[in-house]
């Protein structure tokens, strides 16, 4: 029973990633694309969790945490780039 449910979950998460990819392609502004790429990254963490349950191994569980952290850092960097024009500011303000 659980095998079929996990495969249904895998199909659903893949379908939602494909739908988010449509928004990445045709989104009219840049923040649209960033929002849906962030959601795709978090979906990828869910897909990794489902795959580790299907293969019954705990070796992929680091990757879930890693996908969360990388998605957050990418979104923060891109929103700072959009807002201020540079990601790391070099000028020192004494």
């Amino acid at each position: 029973m659980l095998d079929i449910v996990l495969k249904i979950g895998l199909i659903g998460c893949s379908l939602s990633s494909a739908i988010l990819l449509i928004r990445v392609i045709k989104g009219p502004s840049v923040p649209d694309r960033v929002v849906s790429l962030d959601a795709m990254g978090i979906n990828l963490a869910a897909i990794t969790a489902l795959a580790s349950m299907i293969y019954h191994t705990t070796a992929f569980l680091d990757a879930i945490l890693l996908f969360g952290i990388l998605s957050f850092i990418g979104t923060v960097a891109f929103s700072k780039f959009l807002e201020k024009g540079e990601i790391i500011e070099n000028e020192r303000r004494h």
Binding site: M1, L2, V5, L6, I8, G9, G12, C13, L15, S16, S17, I19, L20, I22, R23, S29, V30, P31, D32, V34, V35, S36, D38, A39, I42, N43, A45, A46, A49, L50, S52, M53, H56, T58, L61, D62, I64, L65, G68, I69, S71, F72, T75, V76, F78, S79, K80, L82, E83
Partner: protein
């Protein structure tokens, strides 16, 4: 593995998949950036939290170990995903992305005009 535990895991996984699909359709169909961000940041977060909770229960009942990496992943995604949504929404407003025609009030523009 117990049948009841198996049903609980199945319900968590199906709920997570359903919420993830709902958020994807919201991102596809809603009219402007802010409503899409609303759909993406809340619903995706809750869906992934349900799936990861199912994973935590699965490995606890099959191996007898609470996997701290999954627990940390739940905590981290729960904390950071709404913050990322807030940051990208503020960046969208600062760069001048328009609201949709259906929206009726804009408090930031009203406060800046004063």
């Amino acid at each position: 593995m117990n049948v009841v535990i198996e049903w609980i895991i199945a319900i968590f996984v199906l709920l997570g998949t359903f919420l993830s699909l709902v958020s994807a359709f919201g991102v596809l169909r809603l009219p402007d950036v802010y409503t899409r961000n609303h759909a993406a940041s809340k619903s995706t977060t809750l869906g992934v939290l349900c799936t990861l909770l199912g994973t935590l229960i699965f490995f606890y009942t099959s191996d007898g170990v609470i996997q701290s990496r999954v627990l940390l992943g739940i905590l981290f995604i729960f904390i950071t995903s709404p913050v990322a949504g807030h940051l990208i929404s503020r960046a969208a407003y600062e760069t001048g992305v328009d609201l949709s025609n259906y929206s009726v009030r804009d408090d930031i523009a009203r406060d800046k005009k004063k």
